[in-house]
Every structure is written in structure tokens, then in C-alpha cells.
Symmetry: C2
Amino acid sequence: MDFSSKLLEKAVEEMSQLPGIGKRTALRLVLHLLKQPEEQTLHLSKALIDLKTEVNFCKNCHNVSDHTICEICANANRDKAIVCVVEDVRDVMAIENTSQYKGVYHVLGGKISPMDGIGPSQLNIESLVQKVRAKEVDEIIFALSSTMEGDTTNFYIYRQIEGEGVVTSTIARGIGVGDELEYADEVTLGRSILHRIPFENSLKNS
Amino acid sequence: MDFSSKLLEKAVEEMSQLPGIGKRTALRLVLHLLKQPEEQTLHLSKALIDLKTEVNFCKNCHNVSDHTICEICANANRDKAIVCVVEDVRDVMAIENTSQYKGVYHVLGGKISPMDGIGPSQLNIESLVQKVRAKEVDEIIFALSSTMEGDTTNFYIYRQIEGEGVVTSTIARGIGVGDELEYADEVTLGRSILHRIPFENSLKNS
């Protein structure tokens, strides 16, 4: 692209560093900001810088938080002995939205992915293993996405904590509530049948 | 969405003000920045603020520029008597990319759109009319998108400058080069036939 302004070019370049934002989209976003009052750009920039410089990660579960211990970990009503292992903050938000979970979380910050150069040491795995070894945990629930990387990460952690007397489980995979069987992929449908549950149990939550 | 951090919520809120960026996408972008080195966020914020506070709009054509007169208007080789009327900077960049145009531009900054509350006075129309009345211009080329708003804007400007002895034209509409006739919409194909050009002329640019 041939920019008429270096300032514009620089802004587009920085904006297009964001994932999924190409040069064209970046240009559209930047030109939008140019048309808006100056406050909008200042507020956006300030919010991003504030977040980056002031945000904390919970010492306990590594969730994004304004304090050194996040609200979930600080909540006396949450069962600290049940730990749900998730990839990032979005998964915490998604599970919290269900209002079905009363334990705490452990945010890994990613999945083991040799292709992307992410090994176990770059993730928050060691602190989870320490929690288990310190006998603070009764149950670990693996809630990573069921991809090759997710399964690898689950298994890596499992090997580290097996024999420590902790119960491990993974979230149920199956046909989504309200979904038609005929449109489900075979793997999901297969797991749905394999891991069927007693009918009475299915009546508990609705 | 239920955020674990006010800072995160604020950043997502500001980011989702951008057009086409929903809350989920904003969260993804913001979490990406959180994972990256602090410099990336600082550079992005600085680039946006610099652009907003320091950028100029060319006094002559209203294009985005680092100087008071843009490079195109300042170029002695460009024909100042031919003015191509476009909506915004992206259109200038698109036409410049073709290397087929040797005149100058006039950037309106939008189209007349009563639905969005944009009237003629919010656009750079007056300065264009002044240029024409000062007899600085021989030809006006309308290159707005062919929507209801584009056509309205063209016609509004046309009414202001008719009788001033300026030649007016609009860019040709037709089937794209390399496109199959069978997939073209009827309006475009219809115009293509209606505004057919002498065969010898079609051989000039290839």
C-alpha cells in the first residue's frame, strides 16, 4: 500500500500487528479513529497502556485481576480443593457464565505447542503441580480444548501429578444441548455414546 | 461478559468501539496484547495518538498528509486542472495504485447520507465548488461508490457546478477485467452494454 502520510502508515502498521487484523482492516480502523473526536483515540490508548502496565495476574490461579489475588480465589464460598485447569481468561469467563461451577481455576496461559515454540516451562504448570504436591487439591478438572495441543497438555500435567492421590477428570464432550444429532461430527457423537450417563443424572441440571 | 478485572473490561470496551470489532474480538485482541512485550502496546498507542494529534489534511484536496499540502498536490507533474472526487483516503490509494491517473484528487470525507445524519455541510464540498468557480478546474471526475448515497452526492455537487463550464465525468462501471459475464449482476452488465466503448479504445490500456 502506498500511504500519503508516514503517520498513517505507522498507525496502520502497528494496528495490523494484532491477530486477524490485516492491513486493509487496520486502515479502516485507523481512518475511523481519525474521523472521531480526539478523546476516543486517547481513551483507547490509555486503556490499553493502563491494562498492560497495571494489571495483575492472580498469584494463586494466574487469572487476570486488578489485585494480587483474584475475586474468585478470594471468595470464601469457592471450593479451593477443586481446580479447573483452563487455557486462558476467556475460558474462565465462559465457565463463570454458566454459574455451574463452585471450585477455583488454574489458568495455564496457553497450551503446549512445539509448533509455536511453546513448551511446558512457558506455561503455569509448575505452580499447579506444586499445589497438588502440597495436598491442597482434591480434584483437577481438565477443561482445555480437545485439540492435539490440548490433549498433549492434559497428558503432560497428568503424568506430573499421577500418584499424588488427586482425582482427575475432564469436562464432558458430546452433542450440544439443543443441537440436532444429524449435524454433529462423528467423533463428538461417538464420544457422546461412549460416555453416556445414567438418565437420572441428566435430569439434575436443566 | 463478566470480567475479572476492571482494567481488562475498560480496554475491551474501548477496543470494541472500533467498527466491526465486537466484544469477543476486542477481548481476543486485548488478551493478545497482554501476552506480548509491553513495547507493542506502547508503540500502538503512540502511533494512534501521534496520528490523531499530528496528522494534517491537505489544504488543497483534504487528503491525509504529513504536510499542509499533500505530495500529490505538491507534485508539479500532476495536472491540477483534472480533479477526481473521492470519498476517502482509501480511494486515493486505490486509484494511485493503478498508476493510470495523472490529475489530482478532492477527498470529500464521506457521502451525503441523511440516514447517518451526514449533510453536504459536513463534507468538503464547498471548497470543491470554490475551485470550480475560480476556474481552476477543467474536468471533474466523480469516483464515488455507486450507491444511493454516492449518486446523491454526485448529483448534489453536479447541481452546484453546472453552468460553470467544467467537464464532468464518472468512472466507468462495467464487468471487471477477467470476470465471467455469467456471474455479473444484471445492473452492472446492463450498464456495461449501455456504455459500450469503441473497440479501438479498449486496446489502449492493457
